[in-house]
């Protein structure tokens, strides 16, 4: 298959997979899982804040300063699921063995959620300092940075796949 065709096939498969995964993620059936995931993210964020010597109260997906002068709720778009879905779509569209794809899905989830954890915790502190800085970092900056993180994660995974393929094809 020519390189151009291969890339076209990748792009088509990517958009198809992303469309389907977003349809599943936004369906009412999966809503409790998405909400549960968001609460788990809030729990982990609160634990990390505590482990770092900070103070934080958590109720559901809400993180609040103990004196209640600041509180924030993690919602859709802040839980990193959108970028995980885009990355999963790219991994599923990429021609790789299924075992490596499965490893890639796990790597993508970990890589994005690690960055997202940094986002949530940084926003918790930024919000206590300045409302406008919080708005900027929350709505615009972190969203863009997480997408860039997704590209890096995909780049690392695809290079590993290519290296495995080259090694497998090399004469012994």
């Amino acid at each position: 298959m020519s390189l151009k065709r291969q890339r076209l096939r990748f792009s088509f498969s990517f958009f198809l997979a992303a469309g389907m995964l977003f349809a599943v993620a936004t369906s009412a059936t999966l809503r409790p899982f998405v909400d549960g995931f968001t609460v788990m993210l809030a729990k982990i964020s609160a634990e990390v804040i505590h482990a770092g010597g900070g103070a934080c109260l958590r109720t559901g997906a809400v993180l609040a300063k103990p004196d209640y002068t600041f509180a924030m709720e993690i919602r859709d778009g802040c839980n990193g699921i959108n970028v995980v879905i885009l990355l999963w779509a790219a991994i599923l569209a990429y021609p790789a063995p299924w075992l490596l794809r499965a490893a890639g899905l796990l790597f993508a989830l970990t890589g994005i959620q690690a960055a997202n954890l940094a986002r949530v915790i940084s926003l918790y502190y930024i919000g206590q300092y300045s409302a406008s800085l919080f708005d900027f970092a929350h709505h615009y900056l972190w969203e863009t940075l997480i997408i860039l993180d997704g590209i890096v994660v995909f780049g690392i995974w695809s290079k590993l796949v290519m290296r495995r393929k080259v090694n497998a094809e090399a004469p012994r």
Partner: protein
């Protein structure tokens, strides 16, 4: 740091996109929203608004944007339960709700400036890509207005309610941030090179 700057496109993109977005947020946000409103006017008039009303105007009291959306169908009145013909509806939105669609210009600029090969002829490429990005931003605004207008007259549990929610999710939470990256990958040499190294040949 210098090594990272010279070697890593992603490092440069992170730094420059952050700087450009800071400049946009604190200096150019309101101006960019005005530009977005101006360039969206005609597409909104042609695709979403009824022919009898202006697609968007500004509330003199609150500064909010008032949109008109053509509906032209029978809907159930939630308070009386009676079906009635609705030709169009009006809704208000804060200008800041549209910042998600204006940010694309600047996120793209940050990524474009991080391309080391953006030298001679770079201005033409930049303008061409900004035109594409403008198209994506307008698409975002048109979809936002359409979804909000039609979403307000749908019955709970309707299949089209899910479809509108799905569209809203993609339009508001995914496309504004994916768009600039796609434009950069399509056009800019260093981004294309990064993409080539990432996806193939396999």
């Amino acid at each position: 740091m210098k090594w990272w700057w010279e070697r890593s496109l992603m490092f440069r993109a992170t730094v420059l996109t952050t700087l450009v977005l800071c400049g946009w947020y604190w200096l150019l946000r309101e101006a960019s929203l005005e530009v977005l409103k101006a360039v969206s006017y005609l597409p909104l008039a042609l695709l979403v608004a009824p022919s009898t009303h202006a697609p968007v105007r500004v509330s003199p009291q609150t500064g909010e944007w008032i949109f008109n959306v053509a509906i032209d169908r029978q809907v159930r009145n939630p308070s009386t339960g009676v079906m009635q013909e609705v030709s169009s509806i009006e809704f208000l939105a804060k200008p800041d709700n549209f910042a998600f669609f204006a940010v694309g210009w600047f996120a793209y600029l940050g990524m474009a400036l991080s391309d080391k090969h953006l030298g001679r002829g770079g201005m033409r490429t930049l303008l061409r890509c900004l035109a594409w990005q403008t198209g994506l931003n307008i698409l975002g605004v048109v979809l936002y207005v359409y979804v909000n207008g039609h979403g307000s007259v749908l019955r709970e549990g309707d299949v089209s309610e899910w479809l509108l929610k799905y569209l809203y999710h993609l339009n508001y939470l995914v496309l504004p941030f994916l768009g600039p990256i796609v434009v950069a990958f399509r056009v800019h040499e260093e981004w294309r090179e990064y993409w080539r190294r990432s996806i193939g040949p396999v």
